[in-house]
Symmetry: C2
Subunit: 365 residues, 2 copies
Amino acid sequence: MAASTLTEVARLAGVSPATASRVLNGSARKPGPGVSERVRQAAEALGYIPNAQAQALAKSSSGLVGLIVHDIADPYFSAIARGVQEVAREQHKMVLLATTGGTPADEKEAVAAFAARRADAIVIAGSRSRRPEDDKGNAELAAELDRYCRNGGHVGVVGQAIVGAGALDGYHLVEVPNEELAAELAGNLAAGHSGEFVIIGGPEGLITSDDRIRGFQSGLAAAGRPAAEVLRASFNRAGGYQAGLELARRIREARASGASQEGKRPGLCIFAANDVMAIGAAAALRSEGFRIPRDALIAGFDDIETLRDFRPGLSTVRLPLEEIGRLATLSTVGTETADRGDGHDDGGRTVTGQVTLRRSTEWAP
Amino acid sequence: MAASTLTEVARLAGVSPATASRVLNGSARKPGPGVSERVRQAAEALGYIPNAQAQALAKSSSGLVGLIVHDIADPYFSAIARGVQEVAREQHKMVLLATTGGTPADEKEAVAAFAARRADAIVIAGSRSRRPEDDKGNAELAAELDRYCRNGGHVGVVGQAIVGAGALDGYHLVEVPNEELAAELAGNLAAGHSGEFVIIGGPEGLITSDDRIRGFQSGLAAAGRPAAEVLRASFNRAGGYQAGLELARRIREARASGASQEGKRPGLCIFAANDVMAIGAAAALRSEGFRIPRDALIAGFDDIETLRDFRPGLSTVRLPLEEIGRLATLSTVGTETADRGDGHDDGGRTVTGQVTLRRSTEWAP
DNA sequence: TGTGATCGGGAAAGCGCATTCCCACTGCAA
DNA sequence: TTGCAGTGGGAATGCGCTTTCCCGATCACA
């Protein structure tokens, strides 16, 4: 990766490196038009490309924003990534990508790598974990992020605060009201469904999943319904599928014992803690010969764009994922320029979602 | 982003910066155990994080791989991105992301930005364009990439070669046999469908789309069928939807004039140049009251993972997208180490896909 | 015409690190 | 004891760029 340098350009143009630097980037001082033209031509002739590393070193600002996600191929994250990317582009920054599978230890590695590259900001998306086995990783992640913040970095956090992080400014939380929205969804579903509810969630300790489950339960409670049983599986399509198989088994057993009530009574209403799990569960039920919503109702969470054409339309909670990515990124760069200007930044923003009922939860006797 | 420096660590440990550098990174020379321990402790105490920018500058290798896609939220690209990310991780590199919407001019910008950051490799995915209005952008993109290659960079190209690029080594093409696979798909469909075919493609000049269309047509021809009409729309879900509406209109008209042959004769068989277009078209048809495969058959291309649970199952051509991303990245870093070792690198690899027939093209009278 | 202000340009000092020399010291054989 | 290779460490240079600081020249104004 050798390329021509500023010095070479300067020499060719017959000026000093200082002058060349001044014309070839937005410096405050503008050299005379004659000189500028010469320099520009020399740069063009040599195919000069400024070395961003050197620039970053010299003015200690890298123009990088780091993005940490569990899995970039998961539509939830890729939608957020799009938002991040957009803002980065507007701000003339580049985004550095790291995928971690949700492991705090890996997330810590990613933060360290971003810090090493002196990223101007870090956006971290994906549910935090509260599982005991992640305690150590969480502590290290928090320490790494705290250090990054103390060194002047800004981190945009999507969803819920970092477990164990200090109350530094530098953290900007984009809050997603998972619990409230799940409660609202539960209320809506309870209004139209008199049968039993069951929840498919991620592993216990995954905060996003737990929040949604808790919200859903409280929504049921508010509607005077008993708490739903919770099935745990991995927080992705495979987990949903697995749980779906289990539910298919149960439905079959229930029917076998409870005589032939098929189609007479509303069946199970399943709430999956995210859309891809819901789709997985639906696929499992279908593969076992059940139909939705005839044999079971099902709802998800997120309203993933690619899944909107799914039939029957999946009831879910629409989350403005791209906007979330945008906000998380903006909150970091915004305060960078308007640093503690008026009063002070609230340190983040809250987005809102929207319960979206579709055919997957319409029970027609 | 101020942080403690190597010099500070060295001072605290009572050694020279040179020694500190030697112990804190994998240098050839290993300082004595006592000194090493002191330095390591000092680094720990200060929370030292090496400045990757400075390191890159000093040893001129950035540990960065640039990835250029049209849209990271498109599942086609996010699947590829996952593969790229995996390899990057294995190689201890970080990936820099750029999204361009497929505009060559923007792609050129991205390449320049990557070159400025001295990325060790660039992976560029997404159909090349041959549209006249992109001529200028293409030329510039090719020039920029050529320059990057000449400076020692490696670029992994997914799909088809860069329009107008020089025959430099430095380019590594991962070839996707779009044409052959589309032909094969057409052959399979023609065997089971006696009715008319129609193609929904991207804008003319989008090479991936054009290749698939051409392949499909030649497959039809090989099966003794007349060429299919081609509808052009944007190469995404919206385009597919729009084309789907148009087709719905035609089907309705044909039925109105051709008496009530509904359900008696096989209807239209639609080939969409990619899966998301197919899904869009299916949604449009459905919204117009038609059912698939009863009223129209439909097939796509790519076999997007998120869309596999779609009902009726979408006939398509499975492409190993993640593997494609992996290969494209490997081809760039592989030759970096084993640079022109044995004989010489073929400069790329070819992947293969698999025609996958599902219910969306099963016509049951 | 003289004087301070302004402007256009260059010299030089880093930014944080890797690395090449170079030196002092040790251990060993002669 | 001298000579020499080997070893562990430091001084210094440079990666490519930005940014003070400085200096000569030009300008406006008295």
